[in-house]
């Protein structure tokens, strides 16, 4: 535990609505190095509220890096300068006294700003509605041990399924592409026997919606993997491409 305080200049993006022009607003804060980044925003808001000024709107929920609600671009990097963590897991001891810290929202046309640092990521949900599932109803399923799944395959599927849907991949990609997000779900189900019946139509449907939503294409820069708080591998994107090619060759879908 540290006793000293860090004095920081925060440059925070303020934007009152989706169609309004935003700009950086400067805030000076003095913070404990043990605080998390979001806690200093809490503190800042508390002091703004106390002086009856409008607080900074930002989102967060679990603060354990698993719900995917938080997501800030800090000094140009989604979820901040450290790798493999979400914004809520970033602590102030990684900053130096006197630093200027720029805080921006995730930016992409598919993620319109709602207010300040809060963006609308519902486009990701709409991709999931198109095919991010296995079409079974509740009940009437076989015993869980009916189908053995090799430990390794199950583990690969888990690696892909660990995606928290925060959208940092889109935010990090120079093309605002959602390929890492989509590939994680497609991979999880393509690897598992349960996903086989809908394997090809799933990838076709999800890519179709992904394109309709206006996400960019993948340029294989791999920035998504580097910024992903769960380290989802771009190997999943390769698998997604493979699945898509196979689907287009094999499926009977003329769309």
């Amino acid at each position: 535990m540290s006793e000293h305080k860090l004095n920081l200049k925060l440059m925070i993006w303020k934007q009152s609505g989706p169609d309004v022009k935003g700009k950086f607003q400067e805030y000076k804060v003095s913070v404990s190095p043990d605080s998390s980044f979001l806690e200093i925003l809490d503190d800042l808001n508390d002091s703004l509220e106390r002086s009856n000024k409008e607080p900074v709107t930002f989102e967060s929920d679990c603060r354990e890096g698993i719900c995917g609600t938080c997501g800030l671009v800090i000094n140009g990097l989604p979820h901040g300068p450290l790798s493999r963590i979400a914004t809520c897991q970033l602590h102030m001891r990684h900053f130096k006294d006197g630093d200027t810290v720029y805080v921006e929202p995730f930016r992409a046309n598919t993620f319109p700003v709602i207010k300040d640092l809060m963006v609308d990521r519902s486009a990701l949900d709409r991709i999931m509605h198109a095919g991010g599932f296995i079409s079974i109803n509740t009940g009437g399923v076989p015993d869980a041990n009916e189908i053995p799944i090799p430990k390794e395959i199950s583990s690969f599927a888990f690696d892909a399924a660990a995606c928290i849907g925060c959208g940092a991949c889109v935010a990090a990609c120079k093309n605002s592409s959602a390929m890492l997000f989509v590939s994680a779900k497609v991979s999880q189900f393509a690897l598992l026997p349960q996903g086989q019946p809908e394997r090809y139509q799933r990838v076709e449907k999800m890519i179709k919606v992904m394109d309709e939503e206006g996400f960019g294409a993948c340029s294989n820069t791999y920035a998504c993997e580097a910024e992903c708080p769960k380290g989802i591998s771009v190997k999943n994107i390769a698998r997604l491409n493979r699945e898509y090619i196979k689907a287009k060759v094999k499926s009977h879908n003329l769309d």
């Binding site: 609505g17 404990s32 043990d34 605080s35 998390s36 806690e39 200093i40 809490d42 503190d43 808001n45 508390d46 509220e49 106390r50 009856n52 000024k53 709107t57 967060s60 929920d61 679990c62 603060r63 354990e64 698993i66 719900c67 609600t69 963590i85 602590h91 709602i114 207010k115 809060m118 609308d120 519902s122 949900d125 999931m128 509605h129 991010g132 599932f133 296995i134 079974i136 109803n137 509740t138 009940g139 399923v141 869980a144 041990n145 189908i147 053995p148 799944i149 090799p150 430990k151 199950s154 599927a157 888990f158 399924a161 660990a162 928290i164 849907g165 999880q188 189900f189 598992l192 349960q194």
Partner: protein
Amino acid sequence: MVRLDSKVPEGNIAEKWTNHKFNMKLVNPANKRKFSVIVVGSGLAGASAAATLAELGYKVKVITYHDSPRRAHSIAAQGGINAAKNYQNDGDSVYRLFYDTVKGGDFRAREANVHRLAEVSNNIIDQCVAQGVPFARDYGGLLDNRSFGGAQVSRTFYARGQTGQQLLLGAYSALSRQIGKGAVESLTRREMLDVVVVDGVASGVVVRNMITGEIERHSAHAVVLATGGYSNVFFLSTNAMMCNTTSIWRAHRKGAFFGNPCFTQIHPTCLPLHGENQSKLTLMSESLRNDGRIWVSSKVADMRNPNDIPENERDYYLERKYPSFGNLSPRDISSRSAKEVVDEGRGARGTESVYLDFSDSIKRLGKNVIEERYGNLFEIYETITGENPYSVPMRIYPAPHYTMGGLWVDYNLMSSVPGLFVLGEANFSDHGANRLGASALMQGLADGYFVIPYTIGNYFAGEKPALIGTDHAEYNNTVSEVQDRIKQLLSIKGGKTVDEFHKKLGRIMWNKVGMARNKKGLEEGIGEIRELRSEFYKDVNVVGSGEGVNQCLERAGRVIDYLELGELMAVDALAREESCGAHFREEYQTEEGEALRNDEEFAFVSAWEFKEDGKWDLHKENLKYEYVKFATRSYK
């Protein structure tokens, strides 16, 4: 006086649910689409219920304050989910899971509910695997299990340390499928602010659109609340920032009885506080206690570096007080003891934390073994605290984690308001006075996938398909109540922030209605909460307006409901003059400091009926134990 009817079916415990399923009325498939359901909350219970009800053909609306149903706090559950599969051939059975859960709940849960939970536990695992949930597997490709929470069998299914996430994403995928089909209407970023009750029957909800600020009305033939627990009444808890009690509290004020509000579980191994601006607490796996030794300095306000405190000045208090279980003493004992030593001023370096020391284990087993067992936990610890647990003892502290209490429901999961159903952590039902590890996920999914789809049909079969429109006078009344409340909050314009009140309430709850309670403290607590509540109405400052995004207003609405619930928790704790499970009344303990249950007088569920602010009537649902016989635990 309202009669509390648990509607538990007759017959042998093992046949109750089967018989009940047969005896329940069915809705004609063609009629199902004429019935609509509003599901509030999209966690394990809500998402699984919404998806399953839509599959059956009902028209479903799912309401969540998140931007996506996938964000619900079920996602943060780490450990696992129990099921009586007996895949390990170690003697597990439905009956044993039932038995362990009743006993674990310290004989304050309803036997029939618990047995049903154990019965459907196996279906849950089948369902989740079919959805593609990547549970841990063994080299042969079959599912792996581990033992959890002191159970003597290995019945916990897990997906690394992210079981809750994987289960929720499974339910979310089932829900997504129904949303994609148009069978479920997903209403995100909306916070339920009240339930509409027409002629004593739940008819719909009033919600605030958190983007536009608009107050919306939604009506349906039944309302299902699956909005989670209320640990955030303590301000600091392992719950997510937005977790709140508003939906169940507002339903409570509209007539739904609140069951066992004082039963709150405190988890012993959480990361310590770092300062005043700490926003929440993070759980660390309890497995750490297997190799770590818990201690504090024997001196008050010892500010020395822990490594400089000599062995003879250390107090290994759990080993001292509970020699046979030591550092592995149950959650409540170990939590309570930590608070005791901290209250004595002996916390680690004067802070609210105790040491969890691995140096002996490292000496005995080598650093490699410790790293193998706890490497990732140590890493998490270091990321958050900046301290290296290999060289400096870890610091831990207990944190509120789960609330066994919740809205009272009958066997059909219907509250005392007809048409209002409550699932998951939001209801009081299956865990009694203490929840066992890996049982929360099980209950959420049991309620959503396998109970409500049957029982809601039975309810609909007795109802008419005509829907009460949202232009009904009762909707107008409820909307103006909600609007008045918002206006009131915005007009106070005092000098204190919402968080200041929340933190103050949290302190009162932690000190007076926390792990160890006594008559004097509870009475003081009630007074302090009331005072704080009236101060809130005089001196809070809610910045901004009711239009558009206003997170300050959102928080204010939640905190004022906590300020009311907090009082009821204290009232309930005061009325329950015994110690049981997580509820420890200092006046009622054995000479060894063990909880002293009073089965003669208190083997009942406290169901509180709201009368007016600060006034409740107590109804008692007596609990009968026909299968599991009363017994007392001992960890000495």
